[in-house]
Protein backbone atom coordinates (compact mmCIF):
# COMPACT_ATOMS: atom_id res chain seq x y z
CA UNK A 1 0.00 0.00 0.00
CA UNK A 2 1.21 3.48 -0.85
CA UNK A 3 2.20 5.77 1.99
CA UNK A 4 -0.68 8.03 3.05
CA UNK A 5 -0.53 11.65 1.84
CA UNK A 6 -0.32 12.83 5.43
CA UNK A 7 0.88 10.68 8.30
CA UNK A 8 0.99 12.03 11.83
CA UNK A 9 2.67 9.95 14.49
CA UNK A 10 2.78 10.58 18.20
CA UNK A 11 2.36 14.33 17.86
CA UNK A 12 2.77 16.44 20.97
CA UNK A 13 2.10 20.18 20.91
CA UNK A 14 2.49 22.84 23.55
CA UNK A 15 1.21 26.34 24.27
CA UNK A 16 3.93 27.42 26.66
CA UNK A 17 3.47 25.19 29.69
CA UNK A 18 0.21 23.75 28.50
CA UNK A 19 0.48 20.35 26.82
CA UNK A 20 -2.34 20.58 24.28
CA UNK A 21 -1.71 17.51 22.09
CA UNK A 22 -0.56 14.37 23.85
CA UNK A 23 0.44 11.85 21.24
CA UNK A 24 -1.89 12.30 18.29
CA UNK A 25 -1.56 9.84 15.41
CA UNK A 26 -3.62 9.92 12.27
CA UNK A 27 -3.40 9.31 8.54
CA UNK A 28 -5.06 10.83 5.54
CA UNK A 29 -4.88 9.21 2.12
CA UNK A 30 -4.75 11.13 -1.12
CA UNK A 31 -8.23 12.20 -2.17
CA UNK A 32 -9.82 11.43 1.19
CA UNK A 33 -11.98 13.75 3.22
CA UNK A 34 -11.61 13.09 6.93
CA UNK A 35 -13.11 14.98 9.81
CA UNK A 36 -11.81 15.75 13.24
CA UNK A 37 -14.72 15.60 15.65
CA UNK A 38 -14.63 16.38 19.32
CA UNK A 39 -15.90 18.90 21.78
CA UNK A 40 -14.44 22.36 22.38
CA UNK A 41 -10.90 22.21 23.64
CA UNK A 42 -10.27 18.66 22.42
CA UNK A 43 -7.30 19.76 20.31
CA UNK A 44 -8.74 19.87 16.77
CA UNK A 45 -7.58 23.39 15.97
CA UNK A 46 -4.24 22.68 17.61
CA UNK A 47 -3.79 19.68 15.34
CA UNK A 48 -4.31 21.82 12.23
CA UNK A 49 -2.05 24.57 13.58
CA UNK A 50 0.64 21.99 14.24
CA UNK A 51 0.41 20.62 10.71
CA UNK A 52 0.72 24.04 9.08
CA UNK A 53 3.39 25.09 11.57
CA UNK A 54 1.65 28.14 13.05
CA UNK A 55 2.16 26.31 16.30
CA UNK A 56 5.82 25.37 16.11
CA UNK A 57 6.31 24.04 19.62
CA UNK A 58 5.60 20.46 18.64
CA UNK A 59 7.23 17.05 18.79
CA UNK A 60 6.65 13.80 17.00
CA UNK A 61 6.32 13.31 13.29
CA UNK A 62 4.15 14.85 10.58
CA UNK A 63 4.98 13.50 7.14
CA UNK A 64 3.42 15.06 4.06
CA UNK A 65 4.18 13.35 0.74
CA UNK A 66 7.03 11.67 2.61
CA UNK A 67 8.53 14.97 3.78
CA UNK A 68 8.92 15.61 7.50
CA UNK A 69 7.17 18.86 8.49
CA UNK A 70 8.14 19.01 12.17
CA UNK A 71 11.11 21.37 12.29
CA UNK A 72 10.24 23.17 9.05
CA UNK A 73 9.32 26.85 9.24
CA UNK A 74 5.69 27.46 8.46
CA UNK A 75 6.28 29.15 5.08
CA UNK A 76 7.98 26.04 3.76
CA UNK A 77 5.00 23.96 4.87
CA UNK A 78 2.60 26.29 3.05
CA UNK A 79 4.83 26.05 -0.02
CA UNK A 80 4.75 22.27 0.15
CA UNK A 81 1.12 22.47 -0.93
CA UNK A 82 -1.08 22.73 2.16
CA UNK A 83 -3.89 25.29 2.22
CA UNK A 84 -5.07 26.48 5.63
CA UNK A 85 -8.49 27.99 6.37
CA UNK A 86 -8.33 29.02 10.02
CA UNK A 87 -11.19 28.85 12.48
CA UNK A 88 -11.16 32.63 12.94
CA UNK A 89 -11.05 32.93 9.12
CA UNK A 90 -8.09 35.29 9.15
CA UNK A 91 -9.42 37.87 6.70
CA UNK A 92 -7.15 40.92 6.68
CA UNK A 93 -8.89 44.17 7.54
CA UNK A 94 -6.31 46.37 5.86
CA UNK A 95 -6.61 44.49 2.58
CA UNK A 96 -9.43 44.63 0.07
CA UNK A 97 -11.30 41.48 -0.93
CA UNK A 98 -9.16 41.32 -4.06
CA UNK A 99 -5.94 41.73 -2.12
CA UNK A 100 -7.02 39.09 0.38
CA UNK A 101 -7.79 36.74 -2.46
CA UNK A 102 -4.48 37.31 -4.21
CA UNK A 103 -2.37 37.25 -1.06
CA UNK A 104 -1.36 33.59 -0.81
CA UNK A 105 1.25 32.83 -3.46
CA UNK A 106 0.71 29.99 -5.90
CA UNK A 107 2.46 26.92 -4.57
CA UNK A 108 1.64 24.46 -7.35
CA UNK A 109 0.11 24.33 -10.80
CA UNK A 110 -3.56 23.63 -11.16
CA UNK A 111 -4.97 26.24 -8.80
CA UNK A 112 -8.27 27.87 -9.72
CA UNK A 113 -8.25 31.06 -11.72
CA UNK A 114 -9.82 34.18 -10.25
CA UNK A 115 -12.64 33.87 -12.79
CA UNK A 116 -13.40 30.30 -11.65
CA UNK A 117 -13.37 31.44 -8.05
CA UNK A 118 -15.86 34.20 -8.72
CA UNK A 119 -18.06 31.71 -10.52
CA UNK A 120 -18.01 29.62 -7.37
CA UNK A 121 -18.52 32.56 -5.03
CA UNK A 122 -20.38 35.26 -7.00
CA UNK A 123 -20.91 37.40 -3.88
CA UNK A 124 -17.21 38.04 -3.62
CA UNK A 125 -16.97 39.51 -7.09
CA UNK A 126 -19.41 42.29 -6.24
CA UNK A 127 -17.35 43.19 -3.20
CA UNK A 128 -13.90 43.08 -4.77
CA UNK A 129 -12.75 46.48 -3.60
CA UNK A 130 -14.33 46.48 -0.13
CA UNK A 131 -12.09 46.00 2.88
CA UNK A 132 -11.97 42.30 3.73
CA UNK A 133 -13.58 42.56 7.12
CA UNK A 134 -16.55 44.58 5.83
CA UNK A 135 -17.90 41.31 4.45
CA UNK A 136 -20.55 39.29 6.28
CA UNK A 137 -19.41 36.25 8.25
CA UNK A 138 -20.49 33.91 5.46
CA UNK A 139 -18.71 35.95 2.81
CA UNK A 140 -15.56 36.04 4.92
CA UNK A 141 -15.68 32.27 5.20
CA UNK A 142 -16.05 31.97 1.43
CA UNK A 143 -13.16 34.36 0.94
CA UNK A 144 -11.01 32.36 3.33
CA UNK A 145 -11.71 29.24 1.30
CA UNK A 146 -11.42 30.95 -2.08
CA UNK A 147 -8.04 32.28 -1.08
CA UNK A 148 -6.47 28.83 -0.75
CA UNK A 149 -8.18 27.40 -3.83
CA UNK A 150 -6.16 29.78 -6.00
CA UNK A 151 -2.84 28.48 -4.76
CA UNK A 152 -2.83 24.98 -6.18
CA UNK A 153 -2.57 23.40 -2.71
CA UNK A 154 -4.07 19.92 -2.80
CA UNK A 155 -4.39 19.29 0.94
CA UNK A 156 -6.90 21.61 2.58
CA UNK A 157 -7.21 22.15 6.32
CA UNK A 158 -10.69 23.54 7.02
CA UNK A 159 -11.33 24.56 10.61
CA UNK A 160 -15.06 24.74 11.36
CA UNK A 161 -16.04 26.42 8.11
CA UNK A 162 -19.71 26.50 9.06
CA UNK A 163 -19.35 27.84 12.58
CA UNK A 164 -21.92 30.51 13.34
CA UNK A 165 -23.32 30.75 9.82
CA UNK A 166 -26.90 30.76 8.58
CA UNK A 167 -28.32 27.47 7.21
CA UNK A 168 -28.33 28.57 3.56
CA UNK A 169 -24.68 29.49 3.77
CA UNK A 170 -23.84 26.27 5.59
CA UNK A 171 -25.51 24.44 2.72
CA UNK A 172 -23.55 26.42 0.14
CA UNK A 173 -20.27 25.67 1.90
CA UNK A 174 -21.27 22.01 2.04
CA UNK A 175 -21.79 22.05 -1.73
CA UNK A 176 -18.40 23.62 -2.29
CA UNK A 177 -16.65 21.06 -0.10
CA UNK A 178 -18.46 18.25 -1.92
CA UNK A 179 -17.34 19.74 -5.22
CA UNK A 180 -13.72 19.96 -4.02
CA UNK A 181 -13.87 16.39 -2.87
CA UNK A 182 -15.15 15.45 -6.31
CA UNK A 183 -12.16 17.18 -7.82
CA UNK A 184 -9.82 14.99 -5.83
CA UNK A 185 -8.71 17.41 -3.12
CA UNK A 186 -7.61 15.87 0.15
CA UNK A 187 -9.44 17.54 3.02
CA UNK A 188 -9.17 17.58 6.79
CA UNK A 189 -12.39 19.08 8.06
CA UNK A 190 -12.88 20.11 11.67
CA UNK A 191 -16.57 20.05 12.49
CA UNK A 192 -18.81 20.21 15.52
CA UNK A 193 -21.85 19.31 13.48
CA UNK A 194 -21.45 15.67 12.55
CA UNK A 195 -24.72 15.61 10.62
CA UNK A 196 -23.05 18.06 8.27
CA UNK A 197 -19.79 16.10 8.32
CA UNK A 198 -21.56 12.82 7.59
CA UNK A 199 -22.60 14.05 4.16
CA UNK A 200 -19.05 14.93 3.18
CA UNK A 201 -16.53 12.67 4.83
CA UNK A 202 -14.99 9.31 4.09
CA UNK A 203 -13.69 8.83 7.59
CA UNK A 204 -13.90 10.40 11.02
CA UNK A 205 -11.45 10.85 13.85
CA UNK A 206 -12.74 11.62 17.30
CA UNK A 207 -10.54 13.69 19.60
CA UNK A 208 -10.69 14.17 23.33
CA UNK A 209 -8.25 15.94 25.66
CA UNK A 210 -5.43 16.07 23.15
CA UNK A 211 -5.77 12.43 22.05
CA UNK A 212 -7.41 10.65 19.15
CA UNK A 213 -9.87 8.33 20.89
CA UNK A 214 -11.63 6.73 17.95
CA UNK A 215 -11.64 6.47 14.19
CA UNK A 216 -14.21 4.90 11.90
CA UNK A 217 -15.44 5.07 8.31
CA UNK A 218 -18.44 7.18 7.49
CA UNK A 219 -20.52 4.05 7.00
CA UNK A 220 -20.18 3.26 10.70
CA UNK A 221 -21.49 6.64 11.76
CA UNK A 222 -24.98 5.40 12.68
CA UNK A 223 -23.79 2.63 14.99
CA UNK A 224 -21.29 5.04 16.55
CA UNK A 225 -23.78 7.79 17.11
CA UNK A 226 -24.41 6.94 20.74
CA UNK A 227 -20.73 6.99 21.60
CA UNK A 228 -20.37 10.20 19.61
CA UNK A 229 -23.09 11.90 21.60
CA UNK A 230 -21.04 11.18 24.68
CA UNK A 231 -17.81 12.51 23.18
CA UNK A 232 -19.31 15.54 21.54
CA UNK A 233 -21.44 16.32 24.55
CA UNK A 234 -24.53 16.90 22.41
Amino acid sequence: MAEPLLKIENLHAYYGESHALQGVSLEVNEGETVTLLGRNGAGKTTTLRSIIGILDDRRGSIRFRGQELVGLPSHKIGRAGIGYVPEERGIFASLTVDENLLLPPRVADGGMSVAEIFELFPNLEERRSSPGTKLSGGEQQMLAMARVLRTGARLLLLDEPTEGLAPVIVQRIGEVIAMLRGKGFTIILVEQNFRFAAKLADRHYVMEDGHVVDTFPNSALEEKSEALHKFLGV
Binding site: I52, G53, I54, P73, S74, H75, K76, I77, G78, R79, Y84, P86, G90, F92, A93, S94, L95, E99, L102, L103, P104, P105, V107, T151
Partner: protein, 292 residues
Protein backbone atom coordinates in the same frame (compact mmCIF):
# COMPACT_ATOMS: atom_id res chain seq x y z
CA UNK B 1 -0.10 90.08 7.70
CA UNK B 2 -0.35 90.98 11.41
CA UNK B 3 2.58 93.31 10.82
CA UNK B 4 4.82 90.39 9.90
CA UNK B 5 6.82 90.98 6.73
CA UNK B 6 5.74 88.57 4.03
CA UNK B 7 9.33 87.59 3.31
CA UNK B 8 9.85 86.46 6.90
CA UNK B 9 6.59 84.55 6.83
CA UNK B 10 7.44 82.69 3.63
CA UNK B 11 10.95 82.10 4.85
CA UNK B 12 9.70 80.43 8.01
CA UNK B 13 7.13 78.39 6.13
CA UNK B 14 9.92 77.12 3.90
CA UNK B 15 12.07 76.33 6.92
CA UNK B 16 9.10 74.57 8.43
CA UNK B 17 8.66 72.52 5.27
CA UNK B 18 12.31 71.54 5.37
CA UNK B 19 12.14 70.48 9.00
CA UNK B 20 8.87 68.80 8.16
CA UNK B 21 10.62 66.88 5.38
CA UNK B 22 12.97 65.36 7.91
CA UNK B 23 10.20 64.73 10.43
CA UNK B 24 8.15 63.00 7.75
CA UNK B 25 10.98 60.81 6.42
CA UNK B 26 12.06 59.77 9.88
CA UNK B 27 8.63 59.21 11.38
CA UNK B 28 7.61 57.29 8.28
CA UNK B 29 10.48 54.86 8.83
CA UNK B 30 9.56 54.55 12.49
CA UNK B 31 5.95 53.86 11.58
CA UNK B 32 6.86 51.17 9.04
CA UNK B 33 9.16 49.49 11.54
CA UNK B 34 6.72 49.73 14.39
CA UNK B 35 3.89 48.31 12.29
CA UNK B 36 5.81 45.22 11.35
CA UNK B 37 8.19 44.59 14.26
CA UNK B 38 6.37 46.26 17.11
CA UNK B 39 9.67 47.85 17.97
CA UNK B 40 10.01 51.52 18.78
CA UNK B 41 13.30 52.03 17.01
CA UNK B 42 15.37 54.26 19.24
CA UNK B 43 18.38 53.69 16.99
CA UNK B 44 16.65 55.70 14.25
CA UNK B 45 18.47 58.95 15.00
CA UNK B 46 21.83 57.18 15.11
CA UNK B 47 21.16 55.57 11.74
CA UNK B 48 20.17 58.94 10.30
CA UNK B 49 23.53 60.23 11.50
CA UNK B 50 25.16 57.16 9.98
CA UNK B 51 23.60 58.05 6.62
CA UNK B 52 25.13 61.52 6.78
CA UNK B 53 28.51 60.12 7.77
CA UNK B 54 28.33 57.53 5.02
CA UNK B 55 27.96 60.37 2.51
CA UNK B 56 30.79 62.27 4.15
CA UNK B 57 33.11 59.25 4.10
CA UNK B 58 32.15 58.46 0.55
CA UNK B 59 33.09 61.97 -0.55
CA UNK B 60 36.26 62.34 1.47
CA UNK B 61 37.67 58.83 1.19
CA UNK B 62 36.47 57.72 -2.21
CA UNK B 63 35.47 60.88 -4.00
CA UNK B 64 31.91 59.60 -4.42
CA UNK B 65 29.65 62.58 -5.03
CA UNK B 66 26.38 63.61 -3.41
CA UNK B 67 24.12 62.02 -6.01
CA UNK B 68 25.71 58.61 -5.71
CA UNK B 69 25.63 58.94 -1.94
CA UNK B 70 21.94 59.63 -2.06
CA UNK B 71 21.62 56.15 -3.50
CA UNK B 72 24.47 54.33 -1.74
CA UNK B 73 24.24 55.66 1.80
CA UNK B 74 20.68 54.39 2.31
CA UNK B 75 21.84 51.01 1.00
CA UNK B 76 24.71 50.95 3.49
CA UNK B 77 22.45 52.01 6.34
CA UNK B 78 19.87 49.46 5.23
CA UNK B 79 22.53 46.78 5.32
CA UNK B 80 23.55 47.80 8.82
CA UNK B 81 19.85 47.64 9.71
CA UNK B 82 19.52 44.14 8.27
CA UNK B 83 22.44 43.01 10.42
CA UNK B 84 20.95 44.66 13.51
CA UNK B 85 17.64 42.93 12.86
CA UNK B 86 19.13 39.50 12.28
CA UNK B 87 21.68 39.61 15.06
CA UNK B 88 19.68 41.37 17.78
CA UNK B 89 16.03 42.12 17.15
CA UNK B 90 15.11 38.72 15.70
CA UNK B 91 16.28 37.12 18.93
CA UNK B 92 14.05 39.16 21.19
CA UNK B 93 10.91 39.19 19.10
CA UNK B 94 9.03 36.98 21.53
CA UNK B 95 9.82 39.18 24.51
CA UNK B 96 7.99 42.25 25.73
CA UNK B 97 8.21 45.26 23.37
CA UNK B 98 10.14 47.13 26.00
CA UNK B 99 13.17 44.98 25.26
CA UNK B 100 13.23 46.16 21.65
CA UNK B 101 13.10 49.73 22.83
CA UNK B 102 15.91 49.20 25.33
CA UNK B 103 18.01 47.32 22.83
CA UNK B 104 17.74 49.95 20.11
CA UNK B 105 18.32 52.68 22.66
CA UNK B 106 21.51 50.92 23.74
CA UNK B 107 22.60 50.56 20.11
CA UNK B 108 22.01 54.28 19.55
CA UNK B 109 24.21 55.12 22.54
CA UNK B 110 26.95 52.82 21.27
CA UNK B 111 26.88 54.06 17.67
CA UNK B 112 26.71 57.72 18.63
CA UNK B 113 29.25 57.28 21.41
CA UNK B 114 31.64 55.55 19.01
CA UNK B 115 31.42 58.37 16.48
CA UNK B 116 31.78 61.00 19.15
CA UNK B 117 34.88 59.27 20.43
CA UNK B 118 36.49 59.54 17.00
CA UNK B 119 35.06 62.79 15.65
CA UNK B 120 34.22 64.76 18.79
CA UNK B 121 30.93 66.57 18.94
CA UNK B 122 31.76 69.26 16.43
CA UNK B 123 30.45 68.91 12.92
CA UNK B 124 32.13 68.17 9.62
CA UNK B 125 31.16 70.36 6.69
CA UNK B 126 29.61 68.74 3.64
CA UNK B 127 29.39 70.95 0.59
CA UNK B 128 26.18 71.53 -1.29
CA UNK B 129 26.31 69.75 -4.66
CA UNK B 130 27.21 72.13 -7.45
CA UNK B 131 23.93 71.77 -9.32
CA UNK B 132 21.98 72.94 -6.32
CA UNK B 133 24.02 75.94 -5.23
CA UNK B 134 22.50 79.39 -5.40
CA UNK B 135 18.90 80.43 -5.21
CA UNK B 136 15.88 80.93 -7.42
CA UNK B 137 13.55 83.88 -7.29
CA UNK B 138 10.02 82.57 -6.93
CA UNK B 139 8.53 86.05 -7.23
CA UNK B 140 7.25 86.16 -3.68
CA UNK B 141 10.51 84.96 -2.16
CA UNK B 142 14.07 83.95 -2.88
CA UNK B 143 14.51 80.24 -2.34
CA UNK B 144 17.87 78.53 -2.00
CA UNK B 145 17.83 75.72 -4.54
CA UNK B 146 19.06 73.06 -2.17
CA UNK B 147 16.25 73.73 0.28
CA UNK B 148 13.66 73.39 -2.44
CA UNK B 149 15.30 70.13 -3.47
CA UNK B 150 15.09 68.74 0.07
CA UNK B 151 11.36 69.32 0.16
CA UNK B 152 10.82 67.79 -3.28
CA UNK B 153 13.08 64.77 -2.68
CA UNK B 154 11.45 64.05 0.64
CA UNK B 155 7.96 64.35 -0.84
CA UNK B 156 8.85 61.96 -3.64
CA UNK B 157 10.36 59.37 -1.31
CA UNK B 158 7.52 59.62 1.22
CA UNK B 159 4.83 59.16 -1.40
CA UNK B 160 6.73 56.41 -3.16
CA UNK B 161 6.89 54.59 0.17
CA UNK B 162 3.21 55.20 0.76
CA UNK B 163 2.41 53.93 -2.73
CA UNK B 164 4.43 50.76 -2.28
CA UNK B 165 2.77 49.98 1.02
CA UNK B 166 -0.80 50.86 0.13
CA UNK B 167 -1.05 50.01 -3.54
CA UNK B 168 1.26 47.16 -4.49
CA UNK B 169 1.37 43.42 -4.01
CA UNK B 170 4.46 43.71 -1.84
CA UNK B 171 2.64 46.28 0.26
CA UNK B 172 -0.31 43.91 0.65
CA UNK B 173 2.09 41.35 2.10
CA UNK B 174 3.42 43.98 4.46
CA UNK B 175 0.01 45.11 5.61
CA UNK B 176 -1.18 41.54 6.04
CA UNK B 177 1.94 40.54 7.96
CA UNK B 178 1.46 43.57 10.20
CA UNK B 179 -1.98 42.21 11.11
CA UNK B 180 -1.28 38.49 11.34
CA UNK B 181 2.29 37.44 10.60
CA UNK B 182 1.78 33.78 11.41
CA UNK B 183 -1.04 33.33 8.97
CA UNK B 184 0.83 35.15 6.21
CA UNK B 185 3.77 32.87 6.82
CA UNK B 186 1.53 29.81 6.74
CA UNK B 187 0.52 30.84 3.22
CA UNK B 188 4.12 30.32 2.15
CA UNK B 189 5.60 33.78 2.51
CA UNK B 190 8.97 34.10 4.20
CA UNK B 191 7.87 36.50 6.92
CA UNK B 192 11.12 36.50 8.90
CA UNK B 193 12.91 37.70 5.76
CA UNK B 194 10.21 40.30 5.21
CA UNK B 195 10.72 41.57 8.74
CA UNK B 196 14.45 41.95 8.15
CA UNK B 197 13.83 43.81 4.91
CA UNK B 198 11.23 46.04 6.54
CA UNK B 199 13.64 47.09 9.25
CA UNK B 200 16.34 47.61 6.62
CA UNK B 201 13.94 49.68 4.51
CA UNK B 202 12.77 51.74 7.47
CA UNK B 203 16.29 52.66 8.52
CA UNK B 204 17.31 53.22 4.89
CA UNK B 205 14.76 56.04 4.91
CA UNK B 206 16.61 57.47 7.89
CA UNK B 207 19.89 57.07 6.00
CA UNK B 208 18.40 58.91 3.04
CA UNK B 209 17.29 61.73 5.34
CA UNK B 210 20.83 61.83 6.73
CA UNK B 211 22.31 62.44 3.27
CA UNK B 212 19.71 65.12 2.54
CA UNK B 213 20.62 66.77 5.82
CA UNK B 214 24.39 66.69 5.33
CA UNK B 215 24.73 69.92 3.27
CA UNK B 216 22.26 71.83 5.47
CA UNK B 217 23.24 70.84 8.96
CA UNK B 218 26.74 69.70 9.63
CA UNK B 219 27.66 66.06 9.73
CA UNK B 220 28.07 65.44 13.42
CA UNK B 221 27.79 62.44 15.74
CA UNK B 222 24.92 63.98 17.69
CA UNK B 223 22.90 65.32 14.78
CA UNK B 224 20.34 62.57 15.31
CA UNK B 225 19.81 62.90 19.03
CA UNK B 226 17.97 66.21 19.12
CA UNK B 227 16.04 65.57 15.97
CA UNK B 228 14.81 62.17 17.04
CA UNK B 229 13.16 63.51 20.17
CA UNK B 230 11.01 65.81 18.05
CA UNK B 231 10.34 62.97 15.63
CA UNK B 232 9.02 60.78 18.42
CA UNK B 233 6.64 63.58 19.35
CA UNK B 234 5.55 63.71 15.70
CA UNK B 235 4.93 59.98 15.72
CA UNK B 236 2.87 60.23 18.88
CA UNK B 237 0.77 63.02 17.35
CA UNK B 238 0.27 61.18 14.07
CA UNK B 239 -0.44 57.80 15.61
CA UNK B 240 2.11 55.03 15.77
CA UNK B 241 2.01 52.79 12.75
CA UNK B 242 -0.04 54.94 10.37
CA UNK B 243 1.83 55.53 7.11
CA UNK B 244 -0.05 58.46 5.66
CA UNK B 245 -0.51 59.79 9.20
CA UNK B 246 3.20 60.08 9.79
CA UNK B 247 3.83 61.81 6.46
CA UNK B 248 1.06 64.37 6.86
CA UNK B 249 1.83 64.98 10.52
CA UNK B 250 5.53 65.40 9.77
CA UNK B 251 4.98 68.23 7.29
CA UNK B 252 2.13 69.74 9.25
CA UNK B 253 4.09 70.01 12.47
CA UNK B 254 7.15 71.30 10.62
CA UNK B 255 5.13 74.15 9.15
CA UNK B 256 3.35 74.81 12.41
CA UNK B 257 6.69 75.08 14.14
CA UNK B 258 7.84 77.52 11.44
CA UNK B 259 4.73 79.66 11.86
CA UNK B 260 5.20 79.71 15.60
CA UNK B 261 8.66 81.16 15.00
CA UNK B 262 7.03 84.05 13.18
CA UNK B 263 4.14 84.76 15.47
CA UNK B 264 5.36 83.70 18.88
CA UNK B 265 9.06 82.80 18.69
CA UNK B 266 9.32 82.06 22.42
CA UNK B 267 7.13 78.97 21.96
CA UNK B 268 8.70 77.63 18.80
CA UNK B 269 10.87 75.02 20.43
CA UNK B 270 8.08 73.57 22.51
CA UNK B 271 5.05 73.90 20.27
CA UNK B 272 5.30 70.32 18.99
CA UNK B 273 5.46 68.95 22.51
CA UNK B 274 2.48 71.04 23.57
CA UNK B 275 0.53 69.63 20.63
CA UNK B 276 1.66 66.16 21.60
CA UNK B 277 0.36 66.61 25.11
CA UNK B 278 -2.99 67.90 23.85
CA UNK B 279 -3.35 65.08 21.35
CA UNK B 280 -2.45 62.50 23.98
CA UNK B 281 -5.20 63.85 26.20
CA UNK B 282 -7.84 64.10 23.49
CA UNK B 283 -6.94 61.18 21.20
CA UNK B 284 -4.44 58.85 22.83
CA UNK B 285 -4.11 56.76 19.65
CA UNK B 286 -2.91 59.82 17.73
CA UNK B 287 -4.62 61.82 14.99
CA UNK B 288 -4.44 58.99 12.44
CA UNK B 289 -4.11 56.03 14.80
CA UNK B 290 -6.62 53.22 14.69
CA UNK B 291 -6.74 53.08 18.45
CA UNK B 292 -6.67 49.36 19.16
Amino acid sequence: MFGVPAQALYGQILLGLINGSFYALLSLGLAVIFGMLNVINFAHGALYMLGAFAAWFALNLFGIDYWWSLLLAPLVVGLVGAVIERVFLARIKNLDHLYGLLLTFGLALIIEGGFRHVYGSSGQAYGTPEELRGAVNLGFMIMPKYRGWVVIASLIVCFATWFIIEKTRLGAYLRAATENPKLVQAFGINVPLMITLTYAGGVALAGFAGVLAAPIYQVSPLMGTNLIIVVFAVVVVGGMGSIMGSIVTGYMLGVLEGLTKVFYPQASSIVIFVIMAVVLLARPAGLFGRGD
